[in-house]
Symmetry: C2
């Protein structure tokens, strides 16, 4: 009964098919899905399956043609993918694994239990297993692991004519260049498709080679690689190992995926979750994962409570303090999160360094001082009037100013310290910052109140 559903404007094409699909049930849903399958891209099918509760998802999954299954699964997030694999009968899983390329398995293996990886390897030929081991020597944050091994490569001795035939015959995504290697398979430079087609087929290809061709080091991080591509004028860049050996390429399409995954991971990390998380995790599993983050938060909350506990005397005498307390913590938390967010954005782009840290600190402290004074006056006046007690107004005003200055400073320093400790500021930054602003907020407000009232 779609007429009775709220009329939610779909955000995009996926939104439209999600609406059609989730609006139907049982047999009707199966029919809608087979219609969608006729011309949907595998990426869309993957998003659709993820948008279904687990039982419906597995039923619809069975409608996906066998030939498309590896690609659809590859494009799903890791948890929903694993959920489907666990539900599939053993023989179907083995058939699927037999279709997996070493590149696919590398991507899957980041989140696959070892027993599954071993089963998949058992389905592979010796050569494919060797390939897998080759890529597997790079860690999950090194671009070498995810390099695309399909590319146009010719010897530095080839002719332009050979390159022309190559470009005509082999159809690859995001392919504007051909990579030249010497006898030892070391990357020497790239040749542009445009140059190749404009030039005389009998000339040596080397004459067109760009000596300054950029290459990405295999141990570069995923975001380094994505940024190099974004800022280059190419749609693909070669990936080379320590000795300069050509091991693959990274395309602009991969860069787009990496950027999206990076920001999705940051978004999820800000709530203590993973980018692999399923929209419909089984309840116990979802609860267990989130419990860890709640537990960490509880420790910091008890710390804040313990701080308040130091001031039971003044609280029992001036109950207004208990009423106003959350305002100090809250304003500090928001001001701190503004500085922290600016830092996290800058750090993601590599724009923050030791050299500009002090200038940033001065700027943030300046902004913190201006807003601190402004809101100290507003909150002090309102609180003093509310409880008809100017001492309360003075205490909360001073506490607000102190806390907002501390928040600005901590917002700049906490992410820098975390990065130095190889921790992700997007994950733990806000918890640490909130702890700081809570504790400082309660200490300054209740401490000042103790001095002024007792």
């Amino acid at each position: 009964m779609p007429e009775q559903e709220p009329n939610l404007a779909p955000q995009n094409e996926v939104g439209l098919v999600v609406q059609q699909l989730t609006g139907a049930e049982g047999q009707a849903q199966a029919e809608v899905f087979s219609e969608i399958l006729e011309d949907a891209e595998p990426g869309t099918v993957a998003l659709l399956l993820e948008a279904l509760p687990l039982d419906e998802r597995y039923e619809r999954w069975q409608q996906v043609e066998f030939a498309d299954r590896v690609e659809v699964l590859s494009l799903m997030r890791a948890d929903p993918r694993m959920g489907i694999l666990r539900r599939m009968p053993d023989d179907e899983v083995d058939l699927l694994f037999a279709q997996l390329s070493p590149e696919d398995l590398i991507e899957w293996s980041d989140y696959l239990p070892e027993s599954f990886t071993d089963r998949a390897l058992a389905q592979m030929g010796e050569r494919q297993r060797q390939h897998f081991e080759l890529y597997n020597q790079y860690s999950e944050n090194e671009i070498g692991r995810y390099a695309d091994h399909q590319m146009l490569v010719l010897s530095t001795k080839a002719t332009i004519g050979q390159a022309q035939r190559f470009f005509r015959r082999i159809e690859l995504d995001c392919n504007d260049s051909l990579f030249l290697v010497d006898e030892e398979d070391h990357f020497r430079g790239a040749v542009s498709r445009y140059e190749v087609f404009r030039s005389n087929p009998d000339e040596p290809l080397l004459s067109l080679m760009d000596e300054d061709s950029r290459a990405i080091s295999a141990d570069a991080t995923l975001m380094e690689a994505a940024e190099l591509l974004e800022h280059s004028r190419d749609v693909e860049l070669p990936v080379v190992d320590d000795e300069g050996g050509l091991i693959g390429r990274v395309t602009l399409r991969t860069a787009t995926e990496l950027v999206r995954e990076h920001y999705e991971a940051q978004l999820m990390a800000s709530a203590g979750m993973n980018e692999t998380d399923d929209l419909f995790a089984p309840i116990m599993k979802g609860a267990r994962r989130r419990a860890v983050w709640l537990g960490i938060n509880l420790l910091t909350a008890f710390l804040a409570s313990a701080t308040i506990g130091l001031f039971e005397d003044v609280l029992s005498q001036v109950v207004a303090l208990a009423v106003l307390m959350p305002i100090v913590a809250s304003m500090g938390g928001i001001a701190g999160s503004q500085s922290l967010t600016l830092m996290i954005r800058g750090m993601a782009m590599g724009q923050i360094s030791a050299g500009n840290l002090w200038s940033l600190m001065k700027n943030e402290l300046g902004i913190g001082a201006v807003n601190g004074v402004l809101w100290a006056i507003v909150i002090g006046a309102v609180s003093g009037w509310w409880f008809s007690n100017e001492i309360i107004g003075i205490a909360i005003g001073c506490a607000i100013l102190i806390n907002m200055l501390v928040a600005a400073g901590a917002g700049v320093l906490v992410p820098m310290v975390l990065q130095k400790m190889d921790q992700d500021p997007a994950l733990s930054g806000s918890v640490i910052l909130t702890t700081v602003t809570d504790v400082i907020g309660f200490l300054s407000f209740l401490g000042l109140a103790t001095i002024l009232f007792l």
Copy 2:
């Protein structure tokens, strides 16, 4: 003295040059920068300038070659770009505007004061002004506004040979297809470069046309367009207007930029800031922008305080309640942000619709119930033991359970309601959610305590 600087591992290549540049001062910095300028891409130069405090930034800006200035400014975020424009002498600005294409001006004009846009238009020829007006009819969230107008277009009557010459002669970024139009410039279909080069030059080009070619509607949102490209197998897609007229194309490179900007905007919005914000905003300007968000937060904080204010009686008698209060609010806030974040991620990908809303709600409530019971027991036990008072333990345990269930429900509903109201859930979602969990947390905890103690 780089030896004394903390050794911060740069995140990427940009990080490395930022470190070199910000580590130097005055004349030394000028020299480092001119070395960097020799082979840095304009995108890197833009990021570097943004990483400098305002005075240094403008000094370095003057070193950028005149020919590169438009591109570098185009690649900067809007606020730092505007900061530079405001500092430049009038005649230099006019010279710069004279170099601006209508496409550049469209992008700049989103954040340019009208007086500047008018000055730029005055520098343009009649034809360019018409182009500007043409693109300007699309709003800031419609892809038609940002379509790339350089593309390969031929008539449906052309031959394959003509297409081959076209592909050889014209070098464009992300270009694998040629678009065919009829006499009325209506898009009819795309032809792949690979097909063109494999086929007989004398045949009609129409024979290679893909009838099912995808096109993006000019009024599609930026994220719709980016997703269509990501999920397609193409590196470019045509953009057509209401009547099917071909108005431009969107490339995979643009899609990558749009994705990054979307997530940067979401990240910044989560702290009440803009993606255009300068890392080094002038203090008063930065303070004014952030003050709005702090003010909104203050209103919700006063709402929470008012809730506590209802329970002054019980608070003045049982001071332990004031000590424990923040724990209830904090656990609810974290649990709610987990549900909210999962929703925001799903909504960005179009995966959430009326049809799966109820299933999502059940799942989140289930997870909320499991964690609610778990942490109710833990927190209840610890609190009862801390204050040697089992009634306090019971009150806080029940409040935790209630608040975590409410948090899960609100985490699902709040972003859906905001989307229906055309509000960005990433901007206002967390403020509304925190208000809900604060108020419900204090109400349930202090309300139960009142019943049990008084």
